[in-house]
Amino acid sequence: MKKIWAWGALLFGILYFTLPLVGMTNFSLKMRRGEYSFDAYAKVFGDPRFQETFTYSVTQALFTIVFGVLLVVPTAYWIRLKLPGLRPYVEFVTLLPLVIPAIVIVFGYIRLYNTSSWLPLTGSALGTNILLMFGYATLALPYMYRAVDTGLRTIDVATLTEAAQSLGAGWTTILARIILPNVLVAVLSGAFLTFAIVIGEFTMAALLNRPAFGPYMQLLGANRAYEPAALAVIAFGITWGCLGLIQLVSRFQKSAPPKA
C-alpha cells in the first residue's frame, strides 16, 4: 500500500518534470513541416544577434565570476580569521539579495546611478556594463559567499596563515597560494552557479538596456514560434552543464587524497 503511494508520487513527479522538457525538445525539432529537423537550431545559431548576445552574456559571466571571487574570498577569509564576531551579520547581508527582488535592486541602480547623479554609471555603455556586472555579482553573492564560507570551514585558516606568515609570506601570497587553492572546489562551485545565473538573467539586463542573452530570448519568444523552444533546450543544457560540473568538481575533491 505504502509502496503504491510512493511510486505514485514519484511517477507524478517524473511526468510533471519530463513533459515540459519533452514538449520543448519536440517543438524545437518541428520547424520543418511533417518531419523532424534541426532547422530551428540552425536558425538560432546562425542568427548574428544570438552570437552577439550570447558572447556578451558569457563575457559578463566571466567578469562577474572574477570580481565575485576577488571580493568574496578575501572577505570570507578575513572574517573567519580576524572578525569572527561579524560573521552572522555578514552572512545576513549576503542573504539579502534573496530577499530583495532583483527588479527592486535594479530599480534602485537606475535611480541612484543615472546621468544626473554623483556617479553617472548609466551614462555610458562601459559604465552600464560595469553596473550590470555589479548587479550580477550582487545576485550571485548569496551562492558565492555560502560556497566559499563552507569551503573555509573545512580548513584550519588560522594555522595555515601562521605557518605561511612564519615563512615570510605576505597577505597576497597567503590568499593566492594558500587559501585559494585550498578552497578551489568551493570557489568553482560558486563560479558555475554564478555562470548559470548570469547567462539567462533577464530583468537586470532588460531594464539596463544591455544586449544580453536573457532579453534576446524574451524578444525572440515574442516574435517567433520554433526558435524559442530551441533556445530553451540550449539554456537547459547550459544549466545542466553548470550543475553537472559542480557535481564533478566536488566528487573530484572527495576522491582526491587528503592533503598533508
Binding site: 530577499v99 530599480f107 548559470a196 550543475l243
Partner: protein, 292 residues
C-alpha cells in the same frame, strides 16, 4: 596591511582589522543597501523631497491592489502545491521503500530544475501547455479533452501557477529531504512500542517536528514566486497584471504617471518578500531544535 603584523607590535594598535572588510562593505553599501534605501525612502517622498504618505496610499487603488492580490494568490497557490508535491515526492524517496539509487539523481535533478527558471522555462511550458503544445494537442486529439474549452489558459492564473511549480517543487525537495532524513528511527520505534499506529506516529510525532520546516519552506517558496519576473513576462507578455510585471512596465515607461508611486510599488514588494523571509528564518531556527 602587512606592515601592521610584521615586526614588533606597537603598544597601542590601531584597529586595522576593520580595513580587511572595507572593499566588501563598500560594495554591499553601494550596490545593495543604498539602492534599496533609495527605493524605501523614495516611497515616502514627494518629487520635491518632502515626507509624504500619499505614495503608500496610492497603492490602495483598485488596479494596484488587484495586481498585488493576484500576485499573492499565484504565490500562495504555487507555494502550497509546491510544498505538497515536493513533500510527497521526497517522502516517497525517503520512506516509501523505493530503490535507493533514485535518491541521487532526484536531488541532482532538483538542483538543476530549481535553477531552470526565467525565460526558457516559459518557453518550455508554452511548448507543452500552450495552444499547440504537446500536451494540449495530445489531450485534444487522443482523449477529446479540450483544455481551452475547459477554461485553462497558459497565460492565466493557473497557467502561471503550474509553470512556477517547475522551480517550486524542486526547491521543496532540496530543503525538505534533509529534514526527513533527520527524523530518527528511534522515534518511530519508541512510538510503536508505546502502541502508536503509523498514522498516530505521523500525526503526533513526525508532523509536529516537521511542521516548522514545512511552514518555513512555504514562506520561502512564497517569496520565491512573488519576486519572479522573467518567467511571467516571457509567458504572458503584459497581459496578466501582476506586481513584478507592473513594476517592470513602470520602470520602463512610468505607466502609473508618478515615479514615486513606482517606489511605493517596489517598497510593497520588499515588505511582502521581507515578511515571508522573516517567517522562514524564524521557523528554521525553531526546526533546528529537533533536526540536527
Amino acid at each position: 596591511m602587512s606592515s601592521a603584523h610584521i615586526g614588533a607590535r606597537p603598544a597601542r594598535r590601531l584597529p586595522l582589522h576593520w580595513l580587511g572588510i572595507l572593499p566588501f562593505a563598500a560594495f554591499v553599501t553601494l550596490f545593495l543597501i543604498l539602492p534599496t534605501m533609495k527605493i524605501v525612502v523614495g516611497a515616502f517622498q514627494t518629487p520635491d523631497g518632502s515626507f509624504t504618505l500619499d505614495n503608500i496610499q496610492g497603492l490602495f487603488t483598485p488596479s494596484i491592489l488587484a495586481a498585488y492580490w493576484i500576485s499573492i494568490k499565484i504565490s500562495i497557490a504555487s507555494a502550497l502545491l509546491g510544498c505538497l508535491a515536493g513533500f510527497a515526492i521526497s517522502a516517497a524517496v525517503v520512506f516509501g521503500g523505493l530503490p535507493k539509487w533514485i535518491r541521487g539523481p532526484l536531488l541532482t535533478f532538483s538542483g538543476v530544475a530549481s535553477n531552470f527558471a526565467g525565460v526558457p522555462l516559459a518557453f518550455a511550458f508554452l511548448a507543452t501547455l500552450g495552444p499547440v503544445g504537446i500536451l494540449s494537442v495530445f489531450l485534444r486529439s487522443e482523449l477529446g479533452v479540450d483544455l481551452r474549452a475547459l477554461g485553462f489558459n497558459i497565460l492565466s492564473f493557473w497557467g502561471l501557477t503550474v509553470t512556477y511549480l517547475f522551480f517550486q517543487i524542486p526547491l521543496m525537495i532540496l530543503i525538505i529531504t534533509p529534514a526527513l532524513d533527520g527524523l530518527k528511527r528511534e522515534w518511530r520505534e519508541a512510538a510503536s512500542i508505546l502502541g502508536a499506529t503509523g498514522l498516530q506516529y505521523w500525526r503526533m510525532v513526525a508532523f509536529p517536528i516537521l511542521l516548522p520546516s514545512i511552514l518555513g519552506t512555504l514562506a520561502l517558496l512564497f517569496a520565491n514566486a512573488f519576486g519572479a519576473v522573467a518567467t511571467a513576462i516571457a509567458l504572458t507578455g503584459s497581459s496578466l497584471s501582476i506586481v513584478p510585471i507592473l513594476l517592470f512596465a513602470q520602470i520602463r515607461g512610468d505607466v502609473l504617471g508618478n515615479p514615486h508611486l513606482g517606489y511605493a510599488l517596489a517598497f510593497g514588494m520588499i515588505v511582502v518578500t521581507g515578511v515571508a523571509n522573516a517567517i522562514y528564518i524564524w521557523l528554521r531556527a525553531r526546526s533546528e531544535r529537533w533536526l540536527k
